[in-house]
């Protein structure tokens, strides 16, 4: 009796390779877009648009091992465009006042006020700074990973982080009425 088994068909076509790679990295790209944009629906659109742009440029990708960083850069570009467009038509975010428990804040009302001030301060950062901060503290990417995904030197990432944190700290200090 002959034993048969199914041998996985090797991925050969460009479309199959693209689908496999995007499927593998889609979650990370989507979460990155959502953290940067603070809007899950817009993140879906951004990821979809990024996938279309990536598919157009896919023949130029020489090293599939670099797909994650390459695709992330396209997603970041999409997010940057959307943040810039958003700055031309300001959106005021609603504060939900959700309580997140053990985060070291003195009391719930102050936590909400702090988060409100931080959210507002964050939203007025430049799009480039928002992206850097979101990747660093929202997705826990290293400086080098951020630099690769944004296509800029690591030193630029560090300076943007430093500048952004300084602005956020100042904004929070003003909101809290203290100088610390």
């Amino acid at each position: 009796m002959l034993a048969t088994r199914t041998i996985p068909r090797p991925v050969t076509s460009r479309a199959e390779a693209f689908s496999a790679l995007t499927d593998r990295h889609l979650d990370g790209a989507y979460r990155l877009a959502a953290v940067v944009l603070d809007d899950a629906l817009e993140a879906e659109d951004a990821v979809h648009d990024a996938a279309i742009a990536a598919w157009r440029s896919f023949p130029q990708l020489r090293d599939p091992a670099r797909f994650d960083a390459w695709f992330s850069r396209i997603v970041v570009n999409q997010c940057r465009d959307r943040l810039r467009a958003r700055r031309r038509r300001p959106v005021v975010a609603l504060i939900t006042g959700r309580d997140h428990g053990q985060d070291g804040m003195p009391d719930p009302s102050e936590r909400v006020a702090t988060r409100d001030a931080l959210g507002r301060a964050f939203s007025v950062l430049d799009p480039e700074e928002q992206i850097v901060v979101a990747m660093r503290f929202g997705r826990d990417l290293t400086v080098d990973d951020i630099a690769e995904r944004m296509g800029i030197p690591s030193g630029t990432v560090k300076s943007r982080l430093h500048h952004s944190l300084g602005r956020l700290r100042t904004a929070l200090a003003i909101a809290e009425g203290s100088d610390d």
């Binding site: 689908s19 889609l26 979460r31 879906e44 979809h48 996938a51 988060r115 979101a134 809290e176 610390d180």
Partner: protein
Amino acid sequence: MTDDRLERSLRALLGERDPGPAPEGVRRLVAQVPNEPPAHAQRPRLGVLAQLAAAVVVIAVTGGFVLATMSGRSGESGESTGASGLPLRPGVGLASPAAPVIPIVVVLLAGAVAVALIVRVRPGPARVAIAGIAVALISAYVSMGDRVAFRVIAFGAQPADRLLASEATADRYLVRVGQNEPYRLFVTIFNDAAETVTVLGLDPGAAPPGPAPHFVGLGRTVDSLDMTFDAAGAFEPVGLASGDWLSLIVLGNAGPCAGSNDTGGLFVHDTLPLVTRIAGWERPIQVPLDVEVTIPVRGDCPEWSAGQSRIALSNPGK
């Protein structure tokens, strides 16, 4: 606020934004991307700079074709009187710049293409860069022909005495002619420009007012290596490629005030007025002769009027 507290607050803020894994809907949409029609998903898109370059090439090729077609028909520009077969005589080889209709059309077309491209680019450094490149290209085209492309590499005057240059003065040719007598200049011009320049003829509009000596006709040598007055033939508009040269014979008329007396002075030619065409632009230019052609004139000539004195009040003999 301490750095730790700020980082904690940021992580909390951004953590609220993390929706988790991608929804099935977006996963399906992305999976469909490779199957979308090529016109939408696979159409190769030129970069903006490539589009600009392509537009410039198309305009340059189209404009060049039109201008080359125009250049091939001599004598059609302005009122050039350079007709083949005519000898060097007054009125031959004169030209007036034509209205720059074709160049203006090319500029407007290029401007329209540039604006269309700029509008398509989102505001930012790329748009500024493209606008800058477009303005630079169009400005470069508009200014073509503004500077004098020629320098004189050989010169002679007849009838004349040549006074050699000193440290302070250029070579001077003293043309001794009487009233209304003709004189001739032999001028070999060299094209220093990177582009081809067409010499359309002598610019009659540059003649000094009144009875001063002035140029009245233009001829050229048939063989550019034959640098003698005897080689003069009829003038025809001719295109000079970069690094090429052309020998011209300029016919002058001394005017009614030529001659010397105690109250007179010298009339000086130090430039040669020509009409040229570069990339469709027809412009009058003044080619520096790098020598002084001096013609004695009488100061008591009744035809002189105030303000007509390019006369150097010096003694012609010195």
